[in-house]
């Protein structure tokens, strides 16, 4: 017998996953960066020029992405590695990719049936904002707006189920 989450995944109703997406992100930041995300954020007018993406394939297909400003990405890296902010360099994309990977993994582990039936891709990190993203998603997607150290951060999930 399918769980409620599995049935909702099948019928395309994903709105109730938004709190799980938020909790998944909050837990990663609390456990791995020792900081609390607050929110919601107002991202309009800010330059969210770092995007970390992880693909999901299997029972749930889609892309989870985390967008933030470059200075937020550097601070995340600093906190994650325990190094001073001015010493953060080439590690930043790797760190942001790992954060996206952990949020995606933590999210799918919270949904009955997805932990077993959904694989994650290696993360991809894009810097810069002069691009458009076109995912093969058949829903409007889920979005959680948060603040990391008073800087805006958006966690989103584009779903093709």
């Amino acid at each position: 017998m399918k769980s409620a989450n599995e049935r909702n995944a099948a019928d395309g109703n994903h709105e109730h996953w938004i709190p799980l997406l938020e909790v998944a992100a909050r837990e990663v930041f609390e456990l791995m960066l020792s900081c609390q995300l607050t929110g919601p954020s107002v991202a309009e007018g800010t330059d969210l020029d770092v995007t970390a993406m992880v693909g999901l394939a299997g029972q749930l297909c889609g892309v989870l992405s985390i967008r933030c400003e470059g200075k937020a990405a550097a601070l995340m890296t600093s906190k994650m590695l325990g190094v001073e902010l001015h010493k953060v360099g080439r590690e930043m994309p790797d760190a942001l990719g790992e954060i996206a990977n952990m949020v995606a993994g933590n999210f799918k582990n919270k949904i009955s049936g997805l932990s077993e039936g959904c694989m994650l891709s290696p993360p991809t990190v894009v810097t810069g904002n002069d691009y458009s993203m076109h995912a093969q998603a058949d829903t409007s997607g889920l979005e959680v707006r948060l603040q990391f150290e008073s800087m805006p951060m958006i966690v989103s999930l584009q779903i093709q189920s």
Binding site: L31, E98, N101, G105, N106, N109, S115, L120
Partner: protein, 127 residues
């Protein structure tokens, strides 16, 4: 007692985080070797003796499960405990890892204390 650990993960950032977490939690690491995949880890073990292996599952070239399947044939690693560290949290992944020879399983994200809780029991008093 100080231990020598091998950390296997395709993310250099995650390798640093694992080392930092264990040190923060009070695990006495005398020496840390790093490898980006299972094949590199086998090369490290061909020349070095370690007391503990911490290993990701999803890696290029040779994944973590294939790596630990090969450990019984490695002289330097026959009785070395392996703890998996991964975002894959499903029951089947845990069972698969344990049946391949892993002695522990840490799900990311984790705190330093959680990492220590999984590592110390497999060290048999060496920590």
């Amino acid at each position: 007692m100080s231990i020598r650990a091998l950390i296997v993960d395709d993310s250099s950032v995650m390798r640093k985080i694992v080392e930092r977490s264990l040190r923060q939690a009070g695990v006495d690491l005398a020496k840390v070797f790093e490898a980006g995949d299972g094949a590199q880890a086998l090369s490290v073990l061909a020349e070095n003796q370690v007391d503990l292996i911490l290993c990701d599952i999803n890696m290029p070239v040779m994944d973590g499960l294939e790596f630990i399947k090969q450990l019984p044939g490695v002289t330097n690693a026959k009785d070395v405990p392996v703890v998996m560290i991964t975002t894959e949290g499903s029951e089947s992944h845990v069972v698969q890892a344990l049946s391949c020879g892993a002695r522990g399983y840490i799900r990311k994200p984790f705190t330093p204390e959680q990492a220590k809780e999984h590592v110390v029991p497999v060290l048999g008093g060496k920590s």
